[in-house]
């Protein structure tokens, strides 16, 4: 019991003392996951909105594949990116392996299905509820999708938050493609795994607490934005199935 208390105390003092090693890892984690989420969001929202309103043969199979990708293990994504970026891989000439760029790419690919699948569900539900109204106003498929995304923007923000949460909390992909190099590609999750195995529990716990605080802060931010703009999660957003 004393050991746990001591670990927590040391962890808090590490955070409070603005420990350089700890905060550089936190900063890198935020940057890698933030950029990955932004990249995945741009493509994922477009893809999701299009899939929601487009009708083409084989759409069902595409949706099934997309939904399956929601559950893809991060280490598998890491492995695929590793194969692409390794010297003999198709993108080997970029020389990105064991770099922050590779980590961003891996996390972006990991969260892309989350953004696309959840946006698709949101927009499709909104289209069932209000699509006819927009169609009767001469809005084509593309415009309908765009207006639904705008209309469901608070719910889309939640999707992005979920995607960021997935990115910042994953360990497999960044470990495989980043290599957990100290001062270079080490992020919170890989550091936690390493420090735990080394027995440096206070640093691992400190990083874990910061990780939780970051997600809590983002949640508060989204709630604040929603309250400020008077937004509320719509009927369509309530229908989102994870």
């Amino acid at each position: 019991m004393n050991s746990i208390t001591q670990t927590f105390t040391t962890a808090f003092s590490l955070i409070a003392s603005v420990d350089g090693a700890l905060w550089s890892i936190v900063g890198r984690s935020l940057w890698v996951s933030g950029v990955a989420t932004v990249l995945a969001s741009g493509l994922g929202i477009l893809l999701g909105a299009w899939l929601a309103v487009a009708r083409f043969s084989g759409r069902g199979a595409v949706l099934a594949l997309l939904n399956t990708m929601l559950a893809i293990p991060s280490v598998v994504v890491g492995l695929l990116v590793y194969l692409m970026l390794s010297r003999s891989g198709p993108l080997g000439s970029l020389g990105w392996l064991f770099s922050v760029k590779a980590m961003v790419l891996a996390q972006a690919l990991l969260v892309l299905p989350i953004v696309a699948a959840l946006t698709r569900q949101l927009v499709e539900d909104a289209d069932v509820l209000h699509g006819e109204q927009l169609q009767s106003m001469a809005a084509g498929s593309f415009m309908r999708g765009a207006l639904h995304v705008w209309d469901e923007r608070f719910a889309v923000l939640m999707v992005l938050l979920a995607a960021f949460g997935r990115a910042i909390a994953e360990v497999g992909a960044v470990m495989v493609v980043g290599g957990n190099i100290e001062g270079f590609t080490r992020v919170m999750t890989t550091a936690i795994a390493l420090e735990t195995s080394k027995g440096d529990l206070p640093l691992a716990l400190g990083l874990g607490l910061v990780l939780l605080a970051v997600v809590l802060l983002l949640n508060a931010l989204v709630a604040g934005v929603r309250a400020f703009l008077g937004g509320s999660v719509s009927d369509a957003a309530k229908g989102v199935r994870l």
Binding site: R55, H130, M137, A138, A139, M143, W150
Partner: protein
């Protein structure tokens, strides 16, 4: 007078359910046609066919259609739904959106939108989020949206106009109902074509020039309003419609 809608042998099927059966209907410019019938008789489906929401191009999900639907090439139409959908933006932007989607610039559309809101008496609510308005106010915003789109096209003097309304005053309090009805009347005096579904026979008598009676997807009677409410004439055309009317009015 211009023939705006010409439906010949139109049937619509949703999986196993046939919502419209072999409907023939012609609507001329300036007519005000009320669609009446029990719930599930096909009124809303017919309005959606007229609006082009159910067509051979719209995919199986929205219904499989057969028969011929011809609309006037210059027709500009707007449709109001029982529960109007307001986008998460101001009332003025909601009205402007209708014009913007028709090709007008956003700044000009917002100016016209304000005039539209003034027409429905909601200019004071222009900047308010449309989602926070009452249902009656939202329906008036939707009417303003339709009004500006149809008025704008009328000014160009090239297009025919039709406003389609799917039970626009259902579940409204009497005051809001009267307001919306008065605005529908304003559309009518401008020689705009109205096609609306309603369960309110008083409203039908006040607003319609023609009445179409549907039962189980079949159009059983389509008569001028005077003839429709003349029991002998209606009975001669459709005993079922006559029986429905007697059931409704007693």
């Amino acid at each position: 007078m211009t023939l705006l809608f010409n439906l010949t042998g139109v049937s619509v099927r949703f999986r196993q359910h046939e919502a419209l059966k072999n409907v023939d209907l012609q609507i001329l410019q300036g007519q005000r046609v009320a669609l009446i019938g029990s719930n599930g008789s096909g009124k809303s489906t017919l309005l959606r066919v007229l609006n082009g929401l159910i067509s051979s191009k719209s995919g199986q999900k929205s219904g499989q259609i057969s028969g011929t639907v011809q609309t006037d090439a210059n027709l500009r139409q707007a449709m109001l739904f029982q529960r109007p959908h307001m986008l998460r933006m101001s009332a003025q932007a909601n009205v402007a959106m209708g014009l913007w989607l028709s090709g007008m610039g956003w700044a000009e559309a917002k100016t016209c939108a304000f005039a539209g809101l003034a027409w429905v008496g909601l200019q004071a609510e222009a900047a308010r989020s449309a989602k926070t308005l009452s249902q009656g106010q939202q329906q008036r915003v939707a009417l303003a949206r339709a009004w500006v789109v149809l008025s704008e096209s009328k000014q160009s003097n090239l297009l025919s106009n039709a406003l389609l309304l799917d039970e626009p005053t259902a579940s409204m309090d009497p005051h809001a109902k009267r307001e919306v009805e008065s605005m529908m009347h304003d559309f009518a005096v401008q020689n705009m074509t109205l096609v609306f579904s309603s369960h309110n026979l008083g409203q039908v008598k006040r607003l319609a020039t023609h009445v179409a009676y549907l039962e189980h997807g079949k159009l059983l009677a389509y008569l001028p309003v005077g003839d429709f409410f003349d029991s002998d004439k209606l009975h001669a055309v459709s005993p079922a419609a006559d029986a429905f009317l007697k059931g409704e009015t007693t």
